[in-house]
C-alpha cells in the first residue's frame, strides 16, 4: 500500500509532461493492483504497511485500506490520471513546475486516504494544500490571487482547529496506556472518553473537515477557488479535495466519538440538509458555468454529511458511494467546462448559444454528465443519493425535506441545458479533439458500470466495513 506514496515521494523532482502523466498512469496501475489484492467482504484494514518514523513521539508511518478508503483510493488514482491527461491542452506555462506540484498533490491525496496515524494523516492533508495554493495562484484565472489566498487561509485555519482535536485525543487518552496517535489504538480508546471531551474533540475535528467538505456557511472559499483554478485543477479540487473532508468526517468524527455522535447528529444532519438545499438554490443564479458546477459540489457534499450522520449502515455506505460517484461526475463536468471555454472563449451560460450545432459530441457528453449529476437512474449517483435519502428517512421522517435537493438540482441543470444546448447555433462547427472526448468518456464508464451494477463496490467493499464498524460503535443500534 505504501507503493503509490513512495513511488511519488521519490519522483517529485521537476518532471516534464510525459513523466508527469506517466507517473499518474503508473499510480493508477498500482491502485488497480490494490483493487485486485483487496479481500472483499473483509471489514478490517488490509494491505497495511508500517514503519517507524518519529515513534519517540507516537508518530508512526502506518498505511492501509479498508472498504471506506478503497473507493476513494481508486477515485484519487483515476481522477489524477484523467486530470493530468486533461492538463495536456490546458496548461501551457511552467509545465515542469506544474507536473511536479501535481505529483506532490497526488502523494498527499493518496496519503490522506490511506494513512492510519493521525499526525501522518495531517501531514498528508497539508501536503495537498500547498500545491493547490500554487495551482490556483499561478495557473488560475483573472481573480486567481484573491481566490488562492482565500483558499489557503480558510483551509489552513480549519486544519489548525482540526489539529487541536487530534492532539487533544492524544493527550486525553494518555491515561489509558502509552499515549498514541495511531488510529487503531485511538479507535478503542476515544470511545471511553467522557461526553464533554468527546464533544469537544468531535467539534474541533468537525470544523476542519467542514471547511474542506465544505458546509454552509464555511463554503465561501469554494466557488472562488473552483472558478479561478484551471479546469484540471478544478477536477482535483471538486473531485478529490472535497472528498478529504467527507472521508475525514466518516473516519474520525463518526467512528471515534460514538457518544458525541448520538448527541450531535441532529445538528450535523440539519447542517447537511441546509447545505444541500442552499447549494442547489444558489446554483440557479450562477451565470458562469464553472461557478454553477462548483455550487453543485456544495449541494452534493451536503448528502455526504447527511448520510454520514444518519448513523445507519445505509446512510453511511451511501455517503461513501456518493463521494465516489460525485467525484467522477463533477470531475467530468469541470473538465468539460474547461474544454468548452477553450473552444468558445466563454463560460457564461447565457452567452453559450447552440452548443448542439457547434460541438455535437461534446454536447452529448455534457448532457450525459448533467444526467449523472442530476442522479438519473442508471448512473451511480442515483444509487448513492437515493440511499442517502432512504437512510435519512429511516432515521427520521422530517428528512423528507431532503427530497427538495434533488428536485432543485434537476431544475438548475435543465435550465442550464436549455440555455446552452437548445438554442439556435451561431458560427461554424468547432469540435474538441478526439483524445479530449476519450478522456471525458473515461469518466462515464465507471459511473455507468457502478450505476447499473453497484454490488462489487457498494456491497462487497463499503458495506461490510461500515456494518462492522457501526456494529462495534453502537452495539444496541442507534
Amino acid at each position: 500500500m505504501a507503493i503509490p506514496t513512495f513511488l511519488l515521494g521519490k519522483r517529485r523532482a521537476g518532471l516534464a509532461k510525459i513523466l508527469g502523466i506517466g507517473t499518474t498512469a503508473a499510480v493508477f496501475g498500482v491502485s488497480l493492483v490494490i483493487v485486485g489484492l483487496f479481500q472483499y467482504g473483509n471489514p478490517n484494514f488490509q494491505l497495511t504497511d508500517t514503519a517507524n518514523w518519529a515513534s519517540t513521539f507516537g508518530l508512526n508511518y502506518i498505511v492501509g485500506v479498508d472498504g471506506i478508503s478503497l473507493p476513494l483510493l481508486i477515485l484519487a488514482a483515476l481522477l489524477c490520471l484523467l486530470a493530468a491527461a486533461g492538463s495536456r491542452d490546458m496548461i501551457s506555462i511552467k509545465q515542469p513546475e506544474y507536473y511536479a506540484l501535481f505529483l506532490v498533490f497526488e502523494t498527499g491525496i493518496i496519503g490522506v486516504f490511506t494513512s492510519l496515524n493521525l499526525i501522518l494523516f495531517y501531514v498528508f492533508w497539508e501536503i495537498v494544500l500547498i500545491p493547490m495554493f500554487f495551482f490556483i495562484g499561478i495557473w488560475g484565472g483573472p481573480r486567481r490571487k484573491y481566490a488562492s489566498l482565500k483558499f489557503l487561509i480558510f483551509t489552513y485555519a480549519g486544519s489548525a482547529i482540526m489539529l487541536f482535536g487530534f492532539i487533544a485525543l492524544y493527550a486525553w487518552t494518555g491515561s489509558q496506556g502509552a499515549p498514541s496517535f495511531d488510529y487503531s489504538t485511538l479507535l478503542t480508546r476515544a470511545a471511553n472518553l467522557t461526553m464533554p471531551l468527546q464533544v469537544a474533540a468531535s467539534l474541533a475535528t468537525f470544523v476542519g473537515f467542514a471547511v474542506k467538505l465544505p458546509i454552509f456557511p464555511l463554503h465561501t472559499w469554494l466557488p472562488d477557488a473552483h472558478v479561478e483554478a484551471p479546469a484540471p485543477v478544478s477536477v482535483l479540487l471538486a473531485g478529490l479535495l472535497l472528498k478529504m473532508g467527507g472521508y475525514g468526517l466518516i473516519r474520525y468524527n463518526l467512528l471515534l466519538f460514538p457518544a458525541a455522535d448520538k448527541l450531535l447528529w441532529p445538528v450535523f444532519t440539519a447542517i447537511g440538509l441546509i447545505t444541500m438545499v442552499y447549494g442547489a438554490s444558489v446554483a440557479f443564479v450562477a451565470q458562469d458555468m464553472k461557478r454553477m458546477i462548483a455550487l453543485t459540489s456544495v449541494n452534493h457534499m451536503g448528502y455526504v454529511l447527511l448520510g454520514t450522520f444518519t448513523l445507519g449502515s445505509i446512510g453511511v455506505s451511501a455517503a461513501v458511494f456518493q463521494m465516489f460517484a460525485h467525484g467522477l461526475a463533477v470531475g467530468m463536468l469541470f473538465l468539460m467546462s474547461g474544454y468548452i471555454h477553450e473552444h468558445t472563449g466563454t463560460r457564461n451560460i447565457n452567452e453559450l448559444h447552440g452548443l448542439r450545432g457547434k460541438m455535437p459530441r461534446t454536447t452529448l457528453l455534457l448532457i450525459l454528465a448533467s444526467m449523472a449529476a442530476m442522479a438519473v437512474p442508471g448512473f451511480a449517483n442515483f444509487i448513492s443519493e437515493y440511499q442517502v435519502i432512504q437512510g435519512a428517512l429511516s432515521a427520521n421522517y422530517l428528512f423528507g425535506f431532503a427530497i427538495l435537493a434533488p428536485a432543485l438540482t434537476v431544475g438548475y441543470f435543465f435550465w442550464m441545458l436549455r440555455r446552452v444546448v437548445m438554442t439556435p447555433a451561431e458560427g461554424p462547427k468547432n469540435e474538441i479533439h478526439l483524445h479530449s472526448q476519450l478522456i471525458l468518456t473515461a469518466f462515464l464508464v465507471p459511473l455507468l458500470v457502478f450505476g447499473i451494477y453497484p454490488a462489487p463496490l457498494l456491497g462487497s467493499a463499503i458495506k461490510p466495513t461500515v456494518d462492522h464498524l457501526l456494529g462495534v460503535l453502537f452495539p444496541g443500534g442507534k
Partner: protein, 485 residues
C-alpha cells in the same frame, strides 16, 4: 569539555587584530575567514562533544550537559550563518574586522549563558552577549537608522540588565546563594514574607529576560531595532540573542524556581498567548519585510513560551519542554536564514517595502523559493521542521497537569492558523504578483549558500524528525536532572 568556549574566546580576541594584516589588494583581509574558522571549529567540537562528551561541572557554576551542548550548537550555527552571509553584507566596509570580532565575542556570551548554572556567571554571559551587539547594531556609522536603532536597543537592553541584577541580588538576599540548585533547595522551604520577595525576584527575572526574549509587554524595541540594524545583525539578535535569553530563562525557571510555591506557570501561559497574538496581528499590518520578520519572531517567541508554562506533562515526560527546545532549534535555523534572505534582497533592491517583493520569484528565484520554504516552516506546515516542534509544544500544553492547557493549545493553534495569512500574503506577492521591473538580480553565493543549507536542514528535520526529537528530549531531561524522566 570547554573546547567550543575556548575556541570562540581565542578567535574572538584574535580576529580584530587580524584585520590589521592586509595582504596585497585583497580588501577583505583574513579577519572574516579567521572568524569563520573559529566558528566552524567550535561547532564541530560541540557536535563531537555532544556525542562523546559526558556531563560535567566546572567551578560549580559552569554546567556542561546535553542542554548546554544543544544550545551551544544552535547558537553557533546561527552565528555561522550570520558570519557567512556577512562576507557579502560587510563587503567594502572598513569595520569588517571589528565586526567579526564582536560577532564572535557576542556568540561567546550567548554560549556562556547557555552553560551557566550560577547567577553571577549568567550575568557575565548576559553582558558579554549584549555589549558587542550594541556596537554591532551601530556598525554602519554613517547610517542614521542604524544609530537610532542602536540607541533604542541600548537603552532597553541596559534596563533589562539592571532588572536582572536586581533579581539576582534579591534572590541572593533570600537564599544566600547564587548557585541555581542551591537556590532551588532553599526556595522550597520559604514561608511568609520571604515568599513575596521571591515573587518580586521572579517578576524581575521575567522582565529582565523578557526584554531579550521579546515577549509582550517587553517587545516594543524589537521592530525598530531589527529594522534599523544591519540586517545580518538583526538575524543575530532575532535568533541568537533571543534564544540565548531563552536558554537562561529555562535554566533559571526550571532549575531554580520550580520549587517556589507560586503559580508562575499560568502567568507564563497568559504571556505566551499575548505574545503570539500580538506578534501575529501586528505582523499582518507591516509594510516592511524586516518589520514583518520582527513581529513574526515575537509571535514565535510566544510559542516557545509555552515550554516555560508547561514544563512537565501529565505523563511525567517533559513533552512541552522538549517541544520548546525543538522549536528553538527550528526557529533559529529558519529565522536566521529568513533574515539572511532579507539581507540579500535589501542589498540589491532599493526599497525595503513589501512591494519590492512583488514578483520576486522571477527576479531572484533562489531567494524567493527559500523564503517560501522558511515561511511555510514558520507557519508550521508539515512536513517541514516547524510543524513537529509546534505539535510537540501544543500537545505538551494539552497533556499538562493544568486545566487551562487545552485553552492554551487552542489559542496557539488559532494563532498558527492565522499566521498563514501574512506568510501566504508574502508568498502570493513573490509568486503571483508582477514585478515592477522584471530584470534578473544576481544572488551572491554568500547568501544563497546559507539559505540552501537552512532549507536542507528544514527538510531533513521535517522528513525524519525522530533523531532530533530524541535529542531534544534528552536535552530537556538533562535540564531537569536529577529529576528522572
Amino acid at each position: 569539555m570547554l573546547t567550543p568556549f575556548l575556541t570562540i574566546a581565542t578567535f574572538g580576541l584574535l580576529v580584530t587584530p587580524a584585520g590589521l594584516i592586509r595582504r596585497g589588494k585583497n580588501p577583505i583581509g583574513i579577519a572574516p575567514y579567521a572568524g569563520l574558522t573559529g566558528l566552524v571549529i567550535a561547532l564541530g567540537s560541540t557536535i563531537w562533544l555532544g556525542f562523546y562528551g559526558g556531563p560535567s561541572q566546572i567551578f560549580g557554576g559552569f554546567q556542561i550537559d546535553l542542554f548546554t551542548y544543544f544550545f551551544t550548537g544552535v547558537l553557533l550555527l546561527v552565528s555561522l550563518f550570520v558570519a557567512i552571509s556577512s562576507l557579502d553584507f560587510m563587503k567594502g566596509d572598513t569595520n569588517t574586522a571589528p565586526y567579526f570580532g564582536l560577532l564572535l565575542l557576542s556568540t561567546l556570551g550567548m554560549i556562556v549563558l547557555a552553560a551557566s548554572m550560577d547567577l553571577i556567571l549568567l550575568y557575565v554571559g548576559w553582558e558579554l552577549m549584549s555589549i558587542p551587539t550594541y556596537a554591532l547594531t551601530a556598525i554602519k556609522k554613517k547610517d542614521p537608522n542604524s544609530n537610532e536603532a542602536a540607541v533604542k536597543f541600548f537603552v532597553l537592553s541596559a534596563l533589562s540588565s539592571a532588572l536582572l541584577v536586581y533579581a539576582i541580588s534579591l534572590t541572593f538576599g533570600i537564599t544566600g546563594s547564587t548557585n541555581l540548585p542551591t537556590i532551588a533547595s532553599s526556595l522550597g522551604t520559604l514561608t511568609g514574607d520571604t515568599r513575596s520577595f521571591a515573587l518580586i525576584a521572579i517578576v524581575m527575572f521575567v522582565a529582565g529576560f523578557g526584554v531579550k526574549m521579546a515577549v509582550v509587554p517587553f517587545h516594543m524595541w524589537i521592530p525598530d531595532a531589527f529594522e534599523g540594524a544591519p540586517t545580518t545583525v538583526a538575524a543575530l539578535l532575532a535568533a541568537g540573542a533571543k534564544m540565548a535569553a531563552f536558554a537562561a530563562a529555562f535554566r533559571v525557571f526550571i532549575v531554580a524556581m520550580s520549587t517556589v510555591n507560586i503559580d508562575w506557570y499560568s502567568t507564563f501561559a497568559i504571556v505566551a498567548v499575548a505574545t503570539m497574538t500580538l506578534g501575529n496581528l501586528a505582523a499582518l499590518m507591516q509594510k516592511s519585510f524586516t518589520r514583518l520578520l520582527a513581529y513574526s519572531s515575537i509571535a514565535q517567541a510566544g510559542y516557545v513560551m509555552i515550554a516555560l508554562s508547561v514544563p512537565i506533562t501529565a505523563g511525567g515526560v517533559p513533552l512541552g519542554l522538549a517541544g520548546g527546545l525543538f522549536h528553538v532549534l527550528n526557529y533559529s535555523i529558519v529565522k536566521t536564514a529568513a533574515f539572511v534572505a532579507a539581507a540579500a534582497v535589501a542589498t540589491r533592491l532599493p526599497l525595503n517595502t513589501l512591494d519590492s517583493f512583488n514578483g520576486l520569484a522571477r527576479r531572484m528565484p533562489q531567494t524567493a523559493f527559500n523564503i517560501t520554504v522558511f515561511f511555510l516552516a514558520l507557519a508550521g506546515v508539515p512536513p517541514l521542521n516547524g510543524f513537529f516542534s509546534k505539535v510537540m509544544l501544543f500537545t505538551g500544553a494539552v497533556y499538562s497537569p493544568y486545566a487551562w492547557g487545552g485553552y492554551l493549545a487552542i489559542a496557539a493553534l488559532l494563532n498558527s492558523g492565522f499566521s498563514m495569512s501574512y506568510y501566504g500574503w508574502l508568498i502570493k506577492r513573490m509568486y503571483f504578483d508582477d514585478p515592477m521591473d522584471s530584470s534578473k538580480i544576481p544572488e551572491p553565493r554568500a547568501y544563497t549558500s546559507v539559505m540552501w543549507a537552512a532549507t536542507i536542514l528544514v527538510f531533513i528535520i521535517g522528513l525524519y524528525p525522530d533523531p532530533w526529537i530524541r535529542l531534544v528530549q534528552s536535552a530537556a531531561c538533562s535540564l531537569r536532572s536529577p529529576v528522572p524522566c
